[in-house]
């Protein structure tokens, strides 16, 4: 099946999300859509899948124009989509999820899931998916959930499969498996539209790359193009390559975590007996697939988990059991992983957000009274220092772009003398220009002699910032390895191997640049850090 988009334009009010986009997808071909967050990739695919109606333009299937009034029409035309946030019902079984909307029934509308189960087994065997039709979806690992999504599309005889940011939630190993699956689907004649902002994997899977920037097609390139070339097309200007930070000069060890455990709902521990140290002037990066205890680890250190046990010591003082406010007074700076939920009060002004954690202390307050003039003066200075792009320091912080919001959070947290700096996903959903800036500020904090802990799910960011890397899996610490450890070894650790096992298996022992793991550091560009903006 040949799919063509001609002149697709989609406007939301005055915002042009897609501007006159042309795209041709041929059978047996992997067509990548490359672009930054907010470039309009997902909007385009939602138009194609019938979720949005295009303002202008048309869709042709095998040369005939079609209109999709809803996803049902698109599916009937042979288009399947795997959304970035899976469209699976957690409390349903795999079979129920696959059957939904296309159920086999006996007389009287009684469900006949046996046929669906048989189809799932058939597809599962053919592509080696290893999916149990009767498993509850919420019990499945993310990689398997993604396969369920692919099965959903294949059961409906999809000839064009759209994968929207499919690797955002996967470990490197799961990504490799996905790429294999894509190869097999391609061999079977399925056309694949692969949406991503990660240059490495785009180059690995695609036959054709279309780059999108600000809603418009910038150009179509061959996958043999260099990552630098792709990056500048995507961003629209030359982007600086790696950070080139100076080697760390660790000082005395002032932050120690011992046997930290955070109990969870079902009896299992969300953070399980984790111990590590961070020295002054050193960045420890915590790697792991999202949801493996990183959130709880940082929250426990900040005193947000009343049932955490173990020991967290900073400059010899036990933080566990202290109130959050007192922990902040001990000089702990904290950038939460979701700035919109935990980092900022959206309707408050930039100035007010800059002092959220010390609003009641001098010089911002005296007795019961706040001093708005001092607050504003402070904000103006910080806005200038951190290059926050805004009309006024009194504007609500929600009017800023993601990158500028994150600068506000960082400005607040880095404006005090710190004894420990923790940043969770410091550059998630942040534009490329801001990423460079934020990374430099974090390294500067390290060079100023603060122990720094970074939590990130992006391996590129980990490799770039880390002096040492701690890998979490299922709440357990798989090990702490040097900052230049190869991606393959990190990937194995993120999948649950200890450092020793991973080093024994992976190519980490012989550091020849082989495959993905060996991509030269100089080739990495900061554009790859822009992770999927969380839209909860």
């Amino acid at each position: 099946m040949k799919l063509e988009l001609q002149g697709i334009t989609k406007r939301f009010g005055s915002l042009v999300a897609n501007d006159n986009i042309d795209l041709v997808v041929n059978p047996g071909q992997v067509h990548c859509l490359l672009g930054e967050n907010g470039a309009g990739k997902s909007t385009l695919m939602n138009v194609l899948y019938g979720l949005y109606e295009p303002t202008d333009g048309r869709i042709l299937v095998d040369g005939k124009p079609v209109t999709f009034r809803g996803p049902g029409d698109a599916m009937a035309a042979g288009i399947g989509m795997v959304h970035q946030h899976f469209m699976l019902i957690p409390v349903f079984t795999v079979a129920e999820n696959v059957a939904l909307g296309d159920e086999h029934t006996k007389a009287g509308g009684i469900l006949d899931l046996d046929k669906t189960r048989a189809r799932i087994r058939e597809i599962s065997d053919r592509y080696g998916f290893d999916v149990d039709p009767d498993a509850l979806v919420e019990d499945l690992p993310v990689g398997v959930q993604q396969r369920v999504e692919i099965i959903k599309a294949l059961v409906r005889k999809a000839e064009v499969l759209i994968l929207d940011e499919p690797t955002a939630v996967l470990t490197p190993q799961e990504t490799d498996e996905l790429i294999q699956i894509i190869e097999e689907l391609k061999a079977g004649g399925t056309a694949i539209v692969f949406i991503s902002h990660k240059l490495r994997e785009v180059k690995a899977v695609s036959d054709v790359i279309t780059v999108i920037r600000r809603g418009a097609v910038v150009g179509t390139v061959d996958p043999s193009a260099s990552t630098g070339e792709l990056a500048s097309m995507m961003v629209g200007r030359k982007v600086s390559l790696s950070l080139n930070k100076a080697p760390a000069t660790p000082g005395e060890t002032t932050f120690t975590v011992r046997n930290l455990t955070v109990p969870g709902a079902g009896g299992q521990n969300l953070v399980d007996n984790v111990s590590f140290d961070i020295s002054r002037g050193e960045i420890l990066a915590v790697a792991g697939v999202q949801g493996n205890g990183q959130t709880e680890l940082t929250e426990a250190i900040l005193g947000l988990h009343p049932h955490a046990s173990g020991s967290v010591r900073l400059n010899g003082r036990e933080l566990l059991g202290m109130k959050v406010k007192d922990i902040i007074r001990e000089g702990v700076g904290f950038v939460p992983e979701d700035r919109k939920v935990d980092g900022l009060v959206g309707s408050f002004s930039i100035a007010e957000n800059m002092i959220l954690n010390w609003y009641n202390e001098p010089p911002f307050a005296k007795g019961l009274a706040m001093k708005p003039a001092v607050v504003l003066k402070n904000a103006r200075e910080k806005v200038a220092e951190f290059d926050v792009r805004t009309q006024s320091a009194e504007a609500p912080v929600s009017t800023l772009s993601g990158g500028n919001q994150q600068k506000v959070v960082l400005a607040r947290e880095l404006s005090r003398p710190l004894n420990l700096f923790i940043a969770s996903q410091p550059t998630r959903g942040v534009d490329v220009g801001s990423i460079e800036f934020l990374h430099k500020r974090i390294v500067a904090e390290r060079d100023g002699g603060t122990p720094v802990m970074i939590v990130s799910t992006e391996l590129d960011e980990i490799s770039e910032l880390a002096d040492r890397i701690a890998v979490l899996h299922g709440g357990e610490l798989m090990g702490v390895v040097p900052g230049d450890t190869s991606r393959d070894v990190l990937g194995l650790m993120m999948a649950g191997m200890t450092a020793e096992e991973a080093l024994g298996q992976g190519p980490g022992q012989n550091p020849t640049p082989a495959g993905e793991g060996g991509t030269a550091a100089g080739e990495r560009i900061s554009g790859e850090h822009a992770a999927g903006e969380e839209t909860r």
């Binding site: 899948y49 979720l51 949005y52 809803g70 996803p71 049902g72 599916m75 989509m81 959304h83 946030h85 899976f86 469209m87 699976l88 019902i89 957690p90 409390v91 349903f92 129920e96 999820n97 059957a99 939904l100 909307g101 296309d102 159920e103 029934t105 009287g108 509308g109 009684i110 469900l111 919420e138 993310v142 959930q145 959903k152 939630v169 955070v262 109990p263 969870g264 709902a265 079902g266 009896g267 969300l270 999202q290 949801g291 959130t295 709880e296 929250e299 947000l304 988990h305 009343p306 049932h307 992983e337 979701d338 969380e534 839209t535 909860r536």
Partner: protein
């Protein structure tokens, strides 16, 4: 989305750690049993009559020495409380059967005690059970309405209003037409009308569903109250003297002791209740319709991407819920009493809501939860007949105390449909 949500939800992690709620509650209950049922146990014999004199088959009465039963029950409860304490201390969860055994024993102990201290320590078990079922009928219809609405993601606080409008419409339509069956249909229609407002406001205009529900309850109460005090009282012979629904007795089967009357000697509303529980359960969990309904209530975006019309599904389900609650409303004027009086549902819609939650959004669970509440209400009537020393005010509180304990204490971590109360808007 779901993945990130489950991982970062602090509420989940907070509630996880050793919970002493159950052992402490068990302990208090056991102490109460010790002092009241055992030490305060009367030296009388509590008699539970299994059969009545008129029955075709007669079984022997159950006679229990009140203070002996009191001691046995109290000691057993203490044992269970200690056991659950030890389980929690070991880091385990409390055995489900321990909880059920505790509840059953406590009820046996309480009944024996409360009958034992009465002037005439003898009650009819069959009457107690049959009365419970009868009183539970409107609750069951109400909570089924809640199941239908909430499973599809619309919170239905308006059950009370649906019941009341059903009661009113049934009374008026049956009086005017002279047929109780016309009244029954009118009740369903009135319930649908209330649902229609709920559906339009919550689905189309995205108004907060709880506010719409509460406002609807007030509206229906005011409107029916106004009409009752004007129209109905002016000419009650024409407008407010509905013929009752006859009891349909199935021969032979109705003669089975205890369960015969509750299953086979009911009005059409009673039989409809059983049918509705079974049909809605089958429908929700065994049919294509049910799969889609549950999908819409759990994850509307996912349902939408599978080509299911989310808001249409919601709309029709809310209307269906209204019809079901309407039948429950008809019970008040066509079965229970034969005139409509102002606010005669008296908060039963809210108890139905509690039954829905206690029953974990499952029709069969809601059925048993409603039965429990019906039992508590009926006990109050039965006890006042046999002349108990317990003050009537305390007896009047019984159903509500049971409701609070059930919803707050015994539900545990039940999981409502994930999209409940959230309007679905396509971006």
């Amino acid at each position: 989305m779901s993945i990130a949500a489950t991982v970062t939800d602090p509420g989940v992690t907070g509630s996880s750690v050793k919970s002493w709620k159950a052992p402490i509650g068990f302990g208090f209950g056991a102490l109460l049993a010790l002092f009241v049922f055992a030490i305060g146990g009367p030296a009388t014999t509590a008699v539970f009559r299994v059969s009545d004199d008129s029955d075709r088959f007669r079984l022997a009465d159950i006679a229990l020495p009140a203070n002996v039963v009191g001691w046995v029950v109290a000691l057993a409860l203490i044992a269970i409380a200690v056991y659950s304490f030890l389980q929690i201390r070991r880091g385990d969860r409390i055995n489900r059967w321990a909880g059920i055994a505790y509840a059953v024993l406590f009820v046996v102990g309480f009944l024996t005690w409360v009958v034992g201290i009465a002037d005439r320590p003898s009650i009819s078990l069959a009457g107690l059970v049959a009365g419970s079922v009868t009183l539970a009928i409107p609750l069951i219809f109400g909570s089924l309405s809640g199941v239908l609405c909430e499973r599809v993601g619309v919170v239905n606080i308006a059950i009370e209003g649906q019941l009341l409008s059903g009661a009113f419409a049934a009374a008026v339509a049956a009086s005017i037409s002279g047929s109780a069956y016309v009244g029954l249909l009118a009740a369903a229609f009135a319930g649908v009308l209330v649902s229609l407002i709920l559906a339009i406001f919550s689905i189309k205009y995205l108004v907060n569903q709880i506010i719409v529900g509460v406002v609807l309850n007030v509206l229906v109460s005011g409107l029916t109250g106004f009409l009752a005090s004007t129209l109905l009282s002016r000419d009650s012979a024409t407008f407010n003297s509905p013929p009752g629904l006859p009891e349909v007795r199935i021969p032979l089967l109705a003669d089975i002791p205890v369960i015969g009357p509750i299953l086979f000697q009911q009005t059409i509303v009673g039989y409809l209740m059983y049918v509705a529980v079974i049909v809605i359960w089958l429908g929700l969990f065994r049919t294509r319709w049910g799969l889609r309904v549950r999908a819409v209530g759990e994850h509307p975006q996912a349902a939408d991407t599978m080509g299911i019309k989310v808001n249409a599904t919601r709309f029709w389900n809310v209307l269906l819920g209204g019809a079901v609650a309407g039948f429950g409303g008809a019970f008040f004027t066509l079965v229970s009493v034969s005139t409509f009086t102002r606010d005669m549902t008296a908060g039963q819609g809210y108890i139905a809501l509690a039954a829905l939650i206690f029953g974990r959004w499952n029709p069969i669970g809601a059925f048993f939860a409603a039965l429990l509440f019906g039992f508590a209400t009926n006990l109050r009537f039965v006890l006042s007949i046999i002349g108990t020393d317990v003050p009537s005010q305390f007896l009047a509180m019984l159903p509500y105390i049971v409701t609070i304990l059930a919803v707050a204490g015994l539900v545990g971590r039940s999981r409502p449909p994930a999209a409940g109360g959230i309007p679905y808007v396509k971006e």
